[in-house]
């Protein structure tokens, strides 16, 4: 059995650690490229969102590399993502492949049942093995996200374009290769120190929070790496959600209540997708004194379209500039860069800062 799963930011490393710890062979899909996307676009429903198309491309490329079992997440609505596994099963079948597709439904408040379900995927493994593999994966998740958080701040001040990213990828690889829990932590902290040493000191800088749909937030390819684009214009970026946050809110539903409280005046209902986080985090970031908020979401994502309308109002109420960007396969790079530059210029003027990138 050769397992594969979709790409989503650091998820490749995390899941690889977990499945290999469980004694399975893993085929990591090749990095996402235009080709991956075009496989998805050709075979997916036209109006389905970007995440469906990219992940399907991942599956096909991994199957071509020899994978025979696909792991995909499920869900219970109201976001359509919950049905994507089912749709992909049909598409893959119609394309002439015949892999085993395992759709892991989220805990839904039933953590014990969830763990049981996952354990049943790996016959012959004891609970002890699961905990051990889980621990390594958990550690990698937490510290990779920590490192990325630092990256999005430090890269804004790098002394030479590209060196911080390079250092980050270097340490990301180190973490991928180790499976020692303590070593992961050490590497991550060392990576952050190393990245810091490559930056120059600046006194004032813009801070932008990026909110929106989770796949777009976590997977840089989908948003054409808007984070790097912003960083390279000298802006510190805060990504409001990481895989860690998703996992936490899944197993500890009470963590959601802080977000819900913040979102309450504008949206008092979980409407699917990550709309409630988009709204709640925007409010929190506005209170934290961020200079601006950028919302990113896949074209035709209904929950985020509702959020977009609400964000327009919040922008007025909270006096914080908000820009919404929707992405699909036809998104051109130049158009986005222009809009991002214009937005950054606007924020600088607001702060009375000198324009840097004219």
């Amino acid at each position: 059995m050769k397992l594969t799963y979709p790409h989503m930011g650091n998820l490749d490393i995390i899941l690889k650690a977990f499945f290999e710890g469980m004694g399975k062979e893993v085929v990591v899909p090749p990095p996402i490229t235009e080709k991956t996307l075009s496989i998805g676009v050709r075979n997916c429903p036209e109006f389905a969102c970007l995440p469906l198309k990219i992940t399907l491309g991942n599956f096909i490329e991994a199957l071509d590399k020899g994978a025979d079992t696909i792991i995909m997440l499920g869900g219970f609505g109201p976001c359509r993502f919950g049905y994507y596994g089912q749709v992909q099963r049909e598409i893959v079948r119609d394309m002439g492949y015949n892999p085993k597709i395992v759709i892991v439904e989220p805990p839904h408040g039933d953590l014990k049942g969830f763990i049981k379900n996952v354990v049943s995927l790996f016959p012959g493994m004891t609970l002890k093995d699961v905990i051990k593999a889980g621990k390594v994966a958990w550690q990698k998740m937490v510290y990779l996200d920590k490192m990325e958080k630092a990256l999005l701040v430090l890269r804004a001040h790098e002394s030479r374009k590209g060196i911080v990213t390079q250092k980050y990828n270097e340490y990301r690889n180190y973490i991928d290769r180790t499976s020692d829990v303590r070593e992961i932590k050490r590497l991550s902290l060392e990576g952050i120190r190393e990245m810091k040493s490559l930056t120059k000191l600046v006194d004032t800088t813009l801070r932008i929070a990026v909110v929106g749909e989770i796949y777009l937030l976590v997977e840089p390819f989908a948003s054409q790496d808007i984070f790097r684009e912003l960083n390279e214009q000298g802006v510190e970026v805060k990504k409001t959600e990481y895989i860690t946050d998703v996992v936490f809110s899944c197993i500890m539903p009470w963590r959601l209540s802080k977000i819900k409280r913040a979102a309450n005046p504008y949206l008092n209902q979980v409407i699917g997708g990550h709309a409630i986080y988009t709204i709640g985090n925007t409010r929190i970031c506005a209170d934290d004194g961020y200079d601006g908020v950028i919302q990113i979401f896949p074209f035709t994502c209904t929950p985020e379209v509702v959020s977009k309308a609400i964000l327009n109002k919040m922008s007025k109420d909270l006096d914080i500039p908000v820009m919404s960007l929707s992405f699909d396969e036809n998104t051109g790079q130049a158009g986005y860069r222009t809009r991002i530059e214009a937005f950054v210029d606007l924020l600088m003027r607001r702060r009375g800062m000198d324009l840097v990138n004219v």
Binding site: Y83, Q86, E90, Q269, V270, T300, V305, K313
Partner: protein, 326 residues
């Protein structure tokens, strides 16, 4: 003076209006409907929403602006989260009141009633009804009566729908007006799949039902199918579809395909509709695989031209007639 409640003639109006009307009438309110969808309503709706919103939402916003001109005291915008256990509606319904409030200022106050039957019709729902009822009266018995009246009205209305009347006629029948002839056109039976707010709105669907009738077809919608038929169709898929109306479309599509109930099926979806993007694909795949039933998909948006629709529909009807002859 009676409190005037404006109800937009859009979205779930086609599914629940008789219940809403009975409810507010019983409470002593006067229900005022927006006018039928027209060019002006759509234009105003488009101007006042975010551009990515789907057509039905834009239309809904247009209707709200129409009600504003009618000087109503309140506008009823329910937050319909779920209509049955373990199933939702499309996310836009879940956030509809917030969506409306965020997009338009200086509109009459909104009555938002949370309709959430995800865990069944229980205390939560009854409390919500009481909360809304208190806007009109403090008499709890009166509110109870209104609740019952709404349930009864919905039951009668649904029976007429199942009987084969389209919403327009079923509403009149449910109000006790004289029986109307069912809209029939000819011997060919055409399954028409789509959300009621798309196919039953004569303007945005470009009167598709009448067009099918004119081409010699009689329309069968998912409203007209029995619950067991929908259940059968939906159970053909490994995972339960978690949107109520999406499931209806999926189930009806499968049932029509497997039971040779109709001579051809037309699926209408709105541009940019999230749930439909999935459902349409799943239905279409099944029809292609089996390849026994003519199938036509139409996507509508605010720019759709009527001629294009007529041409495609005519060709489709010709194809079916030709098949019958052979």
């Amino acid at each position: 003076m009676d409190i005037k409640i404006g109800i937009p003639r859009a979205l779930l109006y086609y599914n629940h209006y008789p219940a809403w009307k009975a409810f507010f009438n019983e409470l002593g309110g006067q229900v005022i409907l927006s006018q039928k969808t027209n060019k002006k309503i759509i234009d105003e709706g488009v101007m006042n929403t975010v551009d990515e919103a789907c057509l039905p939402v834009k239309v809904f916003f247009g209707h709200i602006l129409d009600l504003k001109k009618k000087n109503v005291d309140y506008i009823f915008v329910p937050r319909v989260v779920s209509l049955e256990r373990n199933r939702f509606l499309c996310p836009k319904f879940l956030g509809l009141p917030d969506f409306v409030k965020a997009s338009m200022e200086d509109i009459p106050p909104i009555i938002d009633m949370d309709i959430d039957l995800y865990r069944g019709y229980g205390r939560k729902m009854r409390n919500e009804i009481k909360r809304v009822g208190r806007i009109f009266t403090d008499d709890t018995r009166k509110i109870k009566r209104a609740e019952q009246a709404a349930k009864d009205a919905l039951k009668t209305y649904t029976e007429f729908l199942k009987d084969g009347y389209i919403p327009k006629y079923a509403m009149r029948m449910a109000e006790g007006k004289r029986p109307i002839k069912k809209s029939t056109g000819g011997s060919l039976k055409i399954g028409l799949l789509g959300h009621d707010y798309n196919i039953m709105d004569e303007y945005i669907s470009m009167n598709i039902i009448k067009k099918i009738n004119d081409f010699g077809g009689t329309v069968v919608t998912s409203d007209m199918l029995s619950k067991s038929a929908i259940d059968y169709g939906a159970s053909c898929y490994p995972k339960d579809m978690f949107w109520t109306y999406g499931r209806e479309m999926l189930g009806a599509g499968r049932y029509m395909l497997d039971n040779d109930l109709v001579d051809g099926v037309v699926l209408v979806s709105a541009f940019g509709c999230g749930p439909d993007s999935i459902i349409k694909d799943m239905v279409e795949k099944e029809y292609k695989r089996k390849d026994t039933m003519p199938f036509l998909t139409l996507t509508i948006d605010e720019e759709t031209g009527e001629t294009g629709l007529i041409t495609r529909l005519e060709a489709f009807m010709d194809l079916i007639q030709w098949r019958e002859v052979v």
